[in-house]
Amino acid sequence: MTRFTKILGTTLAVWLALAAAAAAATLTVSSNVLSAGNAAVSSCGVSSLTASRVVDNNGGITEVDVASIPLACQGQTLSVTLADTTGAALASYTTTLAGCTSTCAASFTGLGGTISAANLKYFSFALVGS
């Protein structure tokens, strides 16, 4: 092999390597999976609810009743919490609204009178669909 052939070969090798380096600078972009969406969280039409309680002769609560719940709430789960003046929970109850006619109603009975009516300050309600 002549000296000239060696120089030619080396030069071509260097040139090809540099050309490859230049090509590698082209940016390849890929992306991971991305799916997104949003939805409104609707209400069944409750703006406010009212509860009443039944008290035994010792001042203990034996029953809590919630009435006039919109018919659209049928099938949803009603949660009720009885709270004292500080907002601390005294007891919580849940039930699924069923058997509604023009409106829905729920009664929590057999509470045993263990909660003093004198301590009850607030009812808190929540309805959630399944």
Partner: protein, 142 residues
């Protein structure tokens, strides 16, 4: 000029040409590499694929919080997302609960199990009073 001198000149010309070509290649190669790194700007585009077909559905778990508002109340304690497609398995589903003004109330995320289906997000960051939640945003990323 002698034959030997002519041959020598020809070889020198070829050598000079090859040297020039090599230097050009070197500059071209370095410049192409530099344009990405030195300017710190790279660009390209790609299609964002989606693994989800159909609309996932969210449902909510509630918990009473005595510190909510002035009298206590119910807040959303968990979000369950169902209807997730099987190709989304092992990817992350993120949920944001928003109020009526679209302000963020609480967020949470979880890894979608094998086969997709349903995933429960039981740890939420932030506080979402049940009465304030007006919207939910769901994103799947991975």
């Amino acid at each position: 000029m002698s034959k030997i001198a002519k041959g020598l000149m020809k070889r020198k010309f070829l050598f000079a040409t090859l040297l020039a070509l090599t230097m050009f290649g070197a500059v071209y190669g370095f410049a192409a590499t530099l344009s990405v790194s030195s300017n710190a700007l790279s660009a390209g585009n790609a299609t964002l694929p989606s693994c989800q077909t159909g609309s996932p559905t969210s449902s909510y778990g509630l918990a009473y919080d005595s510190t909510l508002g002035s009298t206590g109340g119910y807040k959303v304690s968990s979000v369950t997302v169902s209807g997730l497609s099987s190709p989304c398995a092992s990817k992350t589903v993120s949920v944001v609960l928003t109020d009526a003004s679209n302000a963020q109330l609480a967020t949470g995320s979880a890894t979608i199990p094998a086969g997709g289906g349903t995933v429960a997000i039981s740890s939420l960051t932030g506080s979402a009073p049940a009465a304030s939640v007006a919207g939910v945003q769901i994103a799947i990323n991975g």
